[in-house]
């Protein structure tokens, strides 16, 4: 091998710590790029492919029982892609833990072979036989079952039916990710066995084209509805869905977008680390460069040698980070995918993606070469004289900087402190880069903890709409007074409210499609709802057909404001309602309206009656709520009420918090990556500073400095850097927290976050910096202190 390449190898091999430092710096950036771009390519693609392939329903119409003839005539309507009948029934199922929960069972003639909302088989069989149950994957987890379990169903009249779970499927079209009700699939004959009529009551329709065009879907829907009405059946309600992209795609994109921005920051930070280390490498090699020039090396040859060294660093980093990035990217997608109901292809089916690898190779080469070219050009351009005689110019310039002059004037510092301070600020470029890296890394780290609080704050706001401890639903209306009486008999129940709930249709001016609104009507003086208003006010006692709508209505009618009059059909009668306020809800696309019980119950002719009740209990813990739910359920059933469900209010909050924690978890991964970058930066800077001063340390000892002084000097220096970096990180964490919280809450909840502050981030980061500083300075300091004077003086 040519000796110049031998030198390259020797440089890499002899200073393993430095090689590790550079390779680690490059690796982190390239790893982040690989991880995030893999997720970017895998996840939205899998989401939309799975979603579209499932042929999601575009129009759902609930009507009177019908048969194949109506399906046939609907499917012949121009614009209809496919039409199928469904029977949807709800029964109570005993969960694995013994408690009761409602399950929605969907049946069709050829369950498992149908063409709309095609199920994706996960395990077991795709097509259930009679009296067998196919379960939706998510419901399995909520209920605590696994394949092969026999489930117990309780029918309306108390009859018990047992069914085996023969298959687990994923319904990729199930869009409502925040309020997941367990779902199962059965045959029409099973419906009869469960004491329901084995006929269809739901018409499911897909359109033949433009599945993303709401107006086209609405126009086809109108045709479908009139066909059904012409057959003599009333249309109870209609829901329309676009189906070109996964309903959660925008949120997934937003989360990935945020991760990408963080990833870019990490690349940026890793770039500054690389710059730092390469700078120091060149500084250490000044003499060697001089020698090589002395014996005939031209500037380009020197440049080439060091460029090759960088390429070698890059190659090592790429060898590590390409496979690691691919694995992490897949795992990242996996974590996200289970939260948003997406099936990822197997790990094996996701090989290294050429685009990702190309991007990684580009970043892995461009960043180190880009930042390395400056020190290399500086180093390669040095004259033999400067290099061999110790570079008189550079040394002179530095010793006369403003900082040193200032330091000389400050008399307050004594002894080692002055030396340490001066040392700290000697390599100013490097110090600036290190502080920058640490400040940004620490800022992001701290911010993640603040974002977490902000997200939980959002969850709190939303759970203000679900403040009840127990939600009790019946299959029919009961007199509220009667329910109240029975409820009060149960110890632990504080008070109870009867809520009216119904579906309405808003007629939006200038639009053909009506917008469905889910109307809640708590008593006007309800104590179980804490709304967050964006505009106007909440509904009040005495309001006449007043309604408060959530922010989703603004995407239907962006000009909507309090005081507007709108037409809403409730119970088949279209009337004029007044919007009194717009409130902030979950960011879901559904429109929810709140009016008073007094208004709605008279609109639907059920005054003093309700089927839905909200109960406050004396203890608000989830365990107490769950326990009491079971008691309430049993109590009402015993007394002959048709209980649909009694559910602990805290469960909803838990689901939401879990989802938020997934995002937090992802952010934390990024925060950790930035922390690693920062740590490497700190450790690198300190040890480089010491390496470069080994000779000086030797002189200090030769003139009688004790080891303890040397060690103390280095420690003070490390602590100064650590302290400054922490202060900077704390400062930049404020803007980073604000931006990050807002971007995320806007993506998920369609509303900005309130600024929140958590001491955790600050504490953890300060601890981390303290530990790192100590370790990163102690190790090289001890090494330096252990060198013999002879070794030190011959140190190059």
């Amino acid at each position: 091998m040519r000796p110049r390449y031998r030198k390259v190898i020797a440089d890499l091999w002899d200073n393993k710590a430095r090689t590790a430092l550079v390779v680690a710096s490059i690796t982190i950036g390239v790893f982040a790029v690989g991880m995030i771009s893999t997720a970017y390519l895998v996840l939205p693609e899998a989401m939309n492919r799975g979603f579209v392939a499932a042929s999601p329903v575009n129009i759902k119409v609930a009507t009177m029982p019908f048969g194949d003839d109506l399906i046939k005539s609907v499917s012949r309507i121009p614009g209809v892609g496919a039409a199928e009948g469904r029977q949807t029934v709800e029964v109570r199922i005993t969960k694995a833990d013994g408690s009761l929960e409602n399950i929605e069972l969907i049946a069709t003639k050829d369950t498992g072979m149908h063409e709309i909302n095609i199920n994706n088989l996960i395990e077991g069989k795709q097509v259930p036989d009679d009296n067998e149950l196919l379960m939706w994957r998510d419901g399995m987890q909520t209920l605590g079952f696994s394949l092969g379990d026999i489930v117990t169903l309780e029918l309306e009249d108390g009859t018990i039916r047992k069914m085996p779970i023969v298959g687990v499927v994923d319904d990729l079209t199930h869009d409502n990710a925040t309020m997941r009700q367990p779902r199962g699939y059965i045959t029409l004959d099973t419906v009869e066995w469960l004491q329901f009529e084995p006929i269809y009551n739901n018409m499911w329709v897909t359109v033949d084209r433009d599945t993303d065009d709401g107006n086209y879907i609405a126009s086809v829907s109108a045709e479908v509805q009139s066909k059904i009405e012409n057959s003599g059946r009333p249309v109870f309600f209609v829901r329309e869905f676009t189906s070109a992209v996964h309903p959660m795609a925008s949120i997934a994109q937003a989360v990935l977008g945020i991760l990408s921005i963080l990833g870019l920051l990490i690349v940026f930070l890793s770039g500054s680390l690389i710059a730092n280390t390469l700078n120091s490498l060149i500084t250490q090699h000044t003499r060697q460069i001089g020698v090589m020039k002395l014996i005939g090396a031209r500037t380009q040859q020197i440049t080439a040698i060091y460029l090759i060294e960088i390429l070698a660093f890059s190659a090592m980093a790429l060898a590590i980070s390409i496979p690691l990035g691919a694995i992490a990217g897949y795992e990242l997608s996996k974590v996200l995918s289970t939260e948003i109901n997406v099936i990822l292809p197997d790990r094996g089916a996701v090989p290294l993606m050429p685009l990702v690898v190309a991007l990684q190779v580009f970043v892995g080469l461009a960043v180190p070469l880009g930042v390395g070219i400056f020190p290399i050009r500086r180093g390669a351009g040095i004259t033999v004289e400067d290099a061999v005689t110790g570079g008189g110019k550079a040394a002179n310039k530095e010793s006369k900087s403003w900082f040193d002059r200032t330091m000389e004037k400050i008399k307050a510092f004594q002894g080692p402190m002055v030396i340490a301070l001066r040392n700290t600020f000697r390599a100013k470029g490097r110090l600036a880069l290190t502080l920058f890296t640490l400040a940004l890394g620490g800022g992001i780290f701290i911010a993640v903890f603040n974002v977490r609080i902000a997200l939980h704050g959002k969850v709190d706001e939303i759970t203000g709409y679900f403040a009840a401890d127990v939600n009790l639903d019946f299959d029919r209306n009961y007199r509220t007074e009667e329910i109240e009486q029975f409820a009060k008999q149960i110890p632990g129940v504080d008070y109870i409210e009867g809520w009216s709930i119904t579906l309405g249709d808003i007629h939006v001016e200038g639009q053909q499609a009506t917008k469905e609104v889910i109307m809640f009507a708590p008593p006007a003086d309800s104590r179980l709802i804490e709304p967050v208003l964006i505009a106007g006010r909440w509904v009040r006692p005495g309001d006449q057909r007043a309604i408060a709508l959530n922010e989703a209505y603004l995407s239907v009618n962006p000009d909507a404001k309090p005081g507007d009059q709108i037409q809403i059909s409730v119970n088949g009668k279209e009337k004029t309602w007044t919007i009194v306020g717009i409130y902030q809800f979950t960011g879901l696309p559904e429109v929810f309206g709140y009016t008073t019980y007094e208004t709605l119950s008279s609109e639907i002719n059920s005054k003093f009656h309700a089927s839905s009740y909200r109960i406050a209990t004396q203890d608000h813990s989830l365990a107490f709520q769950q326990d009491l739910s079971a008691q309430i359920d049993a109590h009402f059933q015993k007394n002959g009420f048709l209980v649909k469900e009694a559910q602990a209010g805290g469960e909803f909050r838990e689901t939401m918090t879990e989802q938020m924690d997934t995002i937090i978890w992802l952010l934390l991964v990024m925060a950790l990556l930035t922390a690693v970058v920062g740590s490497i930066g700190l450790a690198g800077t300190l040890s480089m500073n010491i390496l470069e001063r080994t000779r000086e340390i030797g002189v200090l000892r030769a003139i009688g400095g004790y080891n303890s002084i040397v060690v103390r000097l280095v420690m003070i220096e490390g602590l100064i850097i650590g302290l400054i970096s922490f202060l900077l990180a704390a400062a930049v964490s404020f803007p980073i927290s604000t931006v990050l919280s807002n971007v995320i809450t806007i993506a998920i909840f369609k509303s900005p976050a309130d600024f929140t502050l958590s001491p955790n981030g600050f504490l953890i980061w300060s601890l981390l910096v303290a530990i790192l500083t100590t370790v990163a300075s102690l190790v090289p300091a001890r090494n330096a202190a252990q060198l013999t004077i002879r070794e030190v003086l011959s140190y190059e």
């Binding site: 040519r2 000796p3 110049r4 031998r6 030198k7 020797a10 440089d11 002899d14 060697q288 020698v291 090589m292 020039k293 002395l294 014996i295 005939g296 090396a297 031209r298 500037t299 380009q300 040859q301 004259t383 033999v384 004289e385 061999v388 002179n396 011959s794 190059e796």
Partner: protein, 256 residues
Amino acid sequence: MFKFRSNAAALQSSSAVTADRNTPFIRLRDVRKVRQTAVGDLVTLKDINLDFYRGTFVGIVGKSGAGKSTLINVLSGVTDVTSGEVWLGETAVHKLSESNRALWRGTNLGVVYQSFQLLPNLTLLENVMLPMDFCGRFKPKESREKAMHLLDQVEIADHAHKIPSRISGGQQQRAAIARALANDPPVLVADEPTGNLDSVTAETIFELFHKLIDDGRTIIMVTHDRHLAERTQHRLRISDGAITENSHPIGHNPHA
């Protein structure tokens, strides 16, 4: 007799063996070197005029700070002159660019310093091969053989595969000399090559130099050792940047 060569050809080494001993090979004309220091300009070389011939052993002496190293460095192109001309054969050293000067130095000049200046993480063999690698005059296999031969010549072939920190100072100095000879340069400049060595080792290095002179090389050596200086053919004394003694001023060929 003059051999006229183009400027490009000047970058190639002339063979030491075909030395023309009758014309001055190295010429310094009105060389002035002024350095900027904190206390003002310092004239470290004052209008130096010198001729050196092929196959001569030049010894430079003088007090510390007199300008000996500066003179050597001006000769080797390591230091720029402030004014004046430095010629080596037909090459105007003072006019070469930084990079061309490196290439020129690599092929025409061997440089040896007091501290050994070997690359610390390469073996002696690789250190000796390095100039050949940079100047590209030999094929890798050839340069390996040649480097071994040179190490053999300076009697450290046994240590060829050791790194510099594993051998003694004298051995390192020999390796540095072997390296300086790698590209077969007609001229060797040495700044106190024996300064760090004991007198016995210094003597062996000195004998090595004499062998090189016999091969037709020119050696220009700075030394503090008066006894060694007295054994050179062409002796110079420099004080305060000026030549104060010169055994062979311009026009006096030591071969004559």
